[in-house]
């Protein structure tokens, strides 16, 4: 269907995001006196939705899949549009549209909202470019395209000390980890002489089969791979580069926390999924004495345990969500940690991790947007401050309960299915221990997620007048939260096609 068009149209979802961001900036520069928060929010939401529509159309028509002639290679093979890239672009575009709609109310009195919308769209452009990168050079450039706007977005409230502190900490850890990531790429280039993912894999195979090669060259490549893994850990907020996340998510404006913890995290995973399967295939890496599967396994186990235990002792809802997002990074890491060299169940477990990230994109964004709504209302940040909110805002509270139960992985919600497929995939591939740690952590997570629901629905407000500050009706925020809840519930009947697409996309990598 798309094959009759010029090949570059395969990048339509990326281009739509990028041009919408540029258009907003251009109009704002040319006509600063006609600046309108509403029209800019509408334009950016339309741009993100158009990108989402294009992505869904491409996936439905099989662009870049095996049925229609395989992945589409562009720009001297540096960009590769396939179902994996489109799947992740759908996550990024959905989260972006939810966030820009919510931001309309959150930044209603901000003097210059155009920068927020365009930076968000630029970051989303970087993410969707990251999803189709086929060369380590493109991976690094796209990663920086995501990171640089994100630093600014976290520090967006420049009069607010919490926001600035969060931006500083995010920038410090981010700059350090991108330097480490870059040095890792340079070591891989030194060992293999190429930046293209496929060629790196080929040379890695040669090194493995050459007895003299094991030693110096596999050592250099191995060190480089570990450093690249560090960059991935930063982007996905996993151990050992997780400690920026609670600070950045707590201090940042809540819509930005939603964007970073859902979309930016998924962007980190697309790097992990593509680079580690295409450039460093499991078999060749193991043969060259580079066991990154074990490294990911340990990271996954430590990340989910640390995230869930730390979340259980938090007093502030936003900070609890930040640690819970670290925990979920641990679950999704199973998608790269439970791979085996023979590869029989690899597609299933990685596809389940992708489906989990899609579901997570809706439920986690919705949860952070509920926090954004609470900030907009002016109620406090702790669990006690949320007490009795269900009486004042029943619809939003019900939506929040859906997010919490889905994040915990309770059966009637989409979060249950994605976790179930993930753990089953891990067990089928022989990683029972990872699935067991994940299941135990899910049980722990039920405790702190249900605390939110208990505060909302069962507890009484601290004082009868405590909730009288709620005198605004942020319509757009409401719409975004409700839509995220509807998507979380609708993914239940719609989970079949999602997991099939994800598994097909992941299987094409092996």
């Amino acid at each position: 269907m798309v094959n009759s068009l010029p090949q570059v149209t395969a990048l339509l979802p990326v281009l739509l995001l990028g041009f919408t961001g540029l258009a907003l900036l251009l109009v704002d520069t040319l006509r600063p006196d006609t600046r309108s928060n509403t029209s800019m929010a509408v334009v950016s939401a339309l741009g993100a939705l158009a990108s989402l529509a294009a992505t869904v159309w491409f996936v439905a028509s099989g662009t870049g899949s095996g049925d229609t002639g395989g992945a589409i290679l562009l720009f001297a093979d540096a960009v590769k549009v396939d179902t994996l890239g489109l799947f992740f672009t759908a996550i990024f575009a959905s989260v972006t549209s939810l966030v820009v709609v919510a931001a309309h109310d959150y930044f209603h009195d901000h003097p210059n909202p155009a920068t927020f919308y365009s930076l968000t769209l630029f970051a989303a452009t970087g993410m969707s470019l990251l999803a189709v990168a086929n060369s380590l050079a493109v991976v690094f450039v796209a990663l920086e395209m995501v990171s640089l706007p994100s630093y600014v977005l976290v520090a967006f409230l420049k009069q607010n000390r919490g926001s600035v502190e969060a931006g500083l900490k995010y920038f410090l850890v981010g700059a350090l980890s991108s330097a480490i990531f870059l040095f890792g790429i340079s070591l891989v280039y030194a060992a293999t002489g190429s930046l293209m993912l496929g060629e790196v894999a080929g040379v890695l195979g040669d090194i493995a089969s050459d007895a003299d090669g094991i030693g110096s060259r596999s050592g250099i490549a191995g060190l480089g791979i570990v450093m690249i893994l560090g960059g991935v850990a930063f982007k996905t907020a996993s151990v050992p580069f997780h400690f920026w996340a609670p600070e950045a998510y707590e201090g940042a404006p809540a819509p930005v926390s939603a964007f970073l913890s859902s979309a930016s995290k998924a962007a980190g995973f697309v790097v992990a999924f593509r680079v580690f399967t295409e450039a460093f295939p499991v078999g060749a890496s193991l043969a060259a004495d580079i066991n990154w599967v074990l490294a990911f396994g340990i990271l996954a186990a430590v990340t989910m345990t640390l995230g869930n235990f730390a979340a259980a002792v938090q007093e502030e809802v936003k900070r609890m969500l930040a640690y819970s997002s670290i925990g979920h990074a641990g679950y999704a890491l199973i998608g790269v940690a439970a791979l085996s060299a023979d590869g029989s169940g690899n597609g299933a477990v990685m596809g389940a991790a992708m489906a989990h990230l899609l579901v997570y994109g809706f439920m986690n964004t919705g949860a952070f947007l509920f926090v954004a709504m609470a900030e907009r209302w002016g109620v406090g940040r702790t669990f006690e401050d949320y007490a009795g909110l269900a009486k004042r805002a029943p619809v939003a509270s019900t939506a929040m309960a859906v997010f919490m139960f889905s994040l915990a992985g309770l059966p009637p919600f989409a979060g249950f299915f994605s976790k179930y497929f993930l753990f089953m995939g891990a067990i089928d591939n022989g990683f029972l221990w990872l699935a067991a740690i994940g299941a135990v952590n899910s049980v722990i997570s039920l405790y702190y997620y249900s605390r939110v629901v208990k505060a909302l629905f069962i507890d009484d407000p601290a004082s009868p007048t405590a909730l009288d500050t709620i005198d605004v009706r942020p319509t757009a925020l409401y719409a975004a939260v409700v839509f995220a809840a509807v998507a979380t519930v609708l993914l239940l009947p719609g989970f079949g096609p999602v997991i099939e697409t994800a598994e097909a996309a992941a299987s094409a990598l092996f």
Partner: protein, 106 residues
């Protein structure tokens, strides 16, 4: 895989790059001033550039050299963002010491 011009063995470039990287890392870990932090990160990125340029010559492949130019541009962009954040840090807290802002508990 043929060495085009390698009067200096490639291992030496790797050692040089690793040394520069470690100096940068040491600076990141010990300096408390945000501006020193930026300089240290620049060192780490330029250590990677040494590898790219040296092995582009070793393999007779231009990719590494071109990518080094990209990295220089990206490092400049990162510094621009970093200086901006350090500026708002200074306006809000009156210092550029990264250990001072502790609005949130660790």
């Amino acid at each position: 895989m043929t060495a085009v011009a390698s009067s200096i063995p490639p291992e030496w470039y790797l050692l040089l790059a690793a040394a520069v990287f470690c100096i940068g890392l040491f600076g990141v870990l010990t300096r408390r001033d945000a501006l020193y932090f930026l300089m240290s990160v620049e060192l780490m990125m330029n250590a990677a550039n040494i590898n790219f340029v040296a092995f582009a010559l070793y393999y007779g492949d231009l990719t590494g050299q071109v990518f080094a130019l990209f990295v220089i541009a990206l490092a400049a962009a990162e510094v621009a963002i970093g200086i901006g954040i350090i500026l708002v840090l200074y306006r809000n807290f009156g210092v550029t010491d990264v250990t001072v802002p502790t609005e949130m508990r660790w």
